[in-house]
Symmetry: C2
C-alpha cells in the first residue's frame, strides 16, 4: 500500500459546508489525526483509526501523521475551517524540515470554508473590500507584533478579521486590542462578533467599537472590524466595493 | 410562492470544491443570475432559468435578481470563489440601500472556497500566518489607495494575497505593484503565481520577487507574497506559525 497524507479542512461546523473532496478523502482514509473536537466530527467506521489529540501539540501530531503515511497508511489530518489559516498545514510543513524522506511522500492540502468567510456571510459582506486576517493569540508571537499589525491594518483602512481573539487564560490581550482599534479607528467603526458560526450555537452581534466589550468574544468567536466605509443596510453589514 | 435570494459561492472551479449547501440551493432555484462563465457552471434543467450577464454590470444584475425574488422567484446569484470576497455579495447589499421592500426579503449568503485559499493549499501554506487580501484592480479605487495598502501590508510583515492582479487593458498597475513590493520586501521574498487553481488549466510558479515579472500574472491568477519568514520545504511554500 502506498501511503499519503492529506491535510483537510472541515469548514466551520455545518456538515453542509464540508466540500465533497474532503468527504471523499475521509472515506478513503485508514487514519484520521487531529485536535479532539475536530476528529469527533469524523464518523467511526471499520478500517478507520481515529487519533484525537490535545491542543498545542501540533508538531508532535504532524510528525505522528507523517510517520504513519511513511509506513503506508492513508492519513488525513483534519482542521476545522481551512487547514492553511492558523491551522495544521503550516505545522505539517514545519515537520518536513530536514526530512527529505517525508518530503517525498504524497502530501496534499484540501481547502475548507474558513471561519471568517462563514462569519462574513452570516453577517452580510463586511469583508467585501480589502481586508487583513490576524491571529490575536500571543502563543506564537509577541504582543508587540500583534499591536504593530493592528495599527498597520487600521492605517491602511483594511477591514480586519481576528481569530482566537480571547483566551480564558490571557483575556487581557483582547482588552488591549480593542483599545488600539478605538485609538486608530474611532468609536463609530462597526465590529461584528460571530460565535460558532454555522453550528446550533451560532450567535451574531454587530455593535460600534465604542459599544464593544471584551466579553463579547471568546475562543469560539471570530471578530470582524469594518473599514471606514463599512455600513449597515437593514439587518446586514457590508463593505462597499468602491473607495474614493 | 415565497421568493428568496441567495448569493452563493461556487468555489475556484473544481466541482469537488462546491459545498453541499450550495449544490442544494441550486437544485431549489427557479433562477440563476451571474457573470457568464459562472452561470455556465450551473447545469440547465426544466424549471430553471439561467440569466448570464456581462462583467461590470454588478449593480444592475443585483437589482434584477432582487426584483425577481420580490416577484416570488427563488433566485441564486452565483459568484466564483466566495461571494463575500471581491464578488457579488457587496453589490447585492449596495442595491438594498433605500429599498426597505427588498430588505424584508429572505436573503442569505453561502460562503465558498475563495481563490486565495485554494491557491495557498495548492502551494503549501503561504497564508499560514497573518495575511492581507487586496484587490489590485483600480476599477473601484485609485492607485494611491492600492499603493498605501501594499506599503502597510509589507511594513506590518503580513503575507499578502492579490486578486485581479493584472488586467489586459491596464497592465501597468501590476508593474508598479511589483516595484513597491521589491522596495518594501527586498528581492529575496517569495512570490507565488497561482493560475486557474483547481481547473485543468492550473499552473503554479513560485519565484523570488527579484525574479518575478509582470507577465507571470493575468486575470485568472491569484498572487501570494510571503512574509519575511515564508520559506520553501521540498516542493512546498509555507509560512511558519511562530514569529520572533
Amino acid at each position: 500500500m502506498t501511503g499519503w497524507l492529506i491535510i483537510a479542512g472541515l469548514g466551520p461546523g455545518a456538515e453542509a459546508m464540508v466540500t465533497p473532496e474532503v468527504s471523499d478523502v475521509l472515506e478513503q482514509a485508514t487514519d484520521v489525526v487531529g485536535y479532539i473536537p475536530y476528529v469527533a466530527r469524523v464518523a467511526a467506521r471499520e478500517g478507520l483509526t481515529l487519533h484525537p489529540s490535545d491542543n498545542r501539540v501540533e508538531l508532535d501530531r504532524a510528525r505522528a501523521a507523517l510517520e504513519m503515511a511513511a509506513a503506508g497508511k492513508r492519513v488525513v489530518v483534519v482542521s476545522s475551517g481551512d487547514p492553511g489559516v492558523f491551522a495544521m498545514a503550516s505545522a505539517v510543513f514545519e515537520a518536513l524540515e530536514g526530512r527529505t524522506d517525508w518530503q517525498a511522500l504524497e502530501i496534499r492540502v484540501l481547502p475548507g470554508i474558513t471561519a471568517m468567510l462563514a462569519a462574513a456571510a452570516a453577517a452580510g459582506a463586511p469583508l467585501g473590500h480589502d481586508f487583513c486576517c490576524i491571529n490575536l493569540s500571543d502563543n506564537l508571537k509577541p504582543w508587540s507584533v500583534i499591536e504593530d499589525r493592528l495599527r498597520h491594518a487600521a492605517r491602511g483602512d483594511f477591514a480586519m478579521a481576528f481569530y482566537n481573539p480571547r483566551s480564558a487564560s490571557r483575556p487581557e490581550g483582547f482588552v488591549k486590542a480593542l483599545e488600539v482599534l478605538r485609538q486608530e479607528c474611532g468609536p463609530d467603526r462597526l465590529i461584528t462578533f460571530a460565535r460558532a458560526v454555522s453550528t446550533p450555537d451560532q450567535r451574531l452581534v454587530t455593535v460600534s467599537l465604542g459599544e464593544a466589550t471584551p466579553e463579547m468574544a471568546d475562543m469560539r468567536t471570530v471578530v470582524i472590524v469594518g473599514n471606514s466605509a463599512t455600513r449597515r443596510v437593514g439587518r446586514f453589514v457590508y463593505s462597499p466595493r468602491s473607495v474614493g
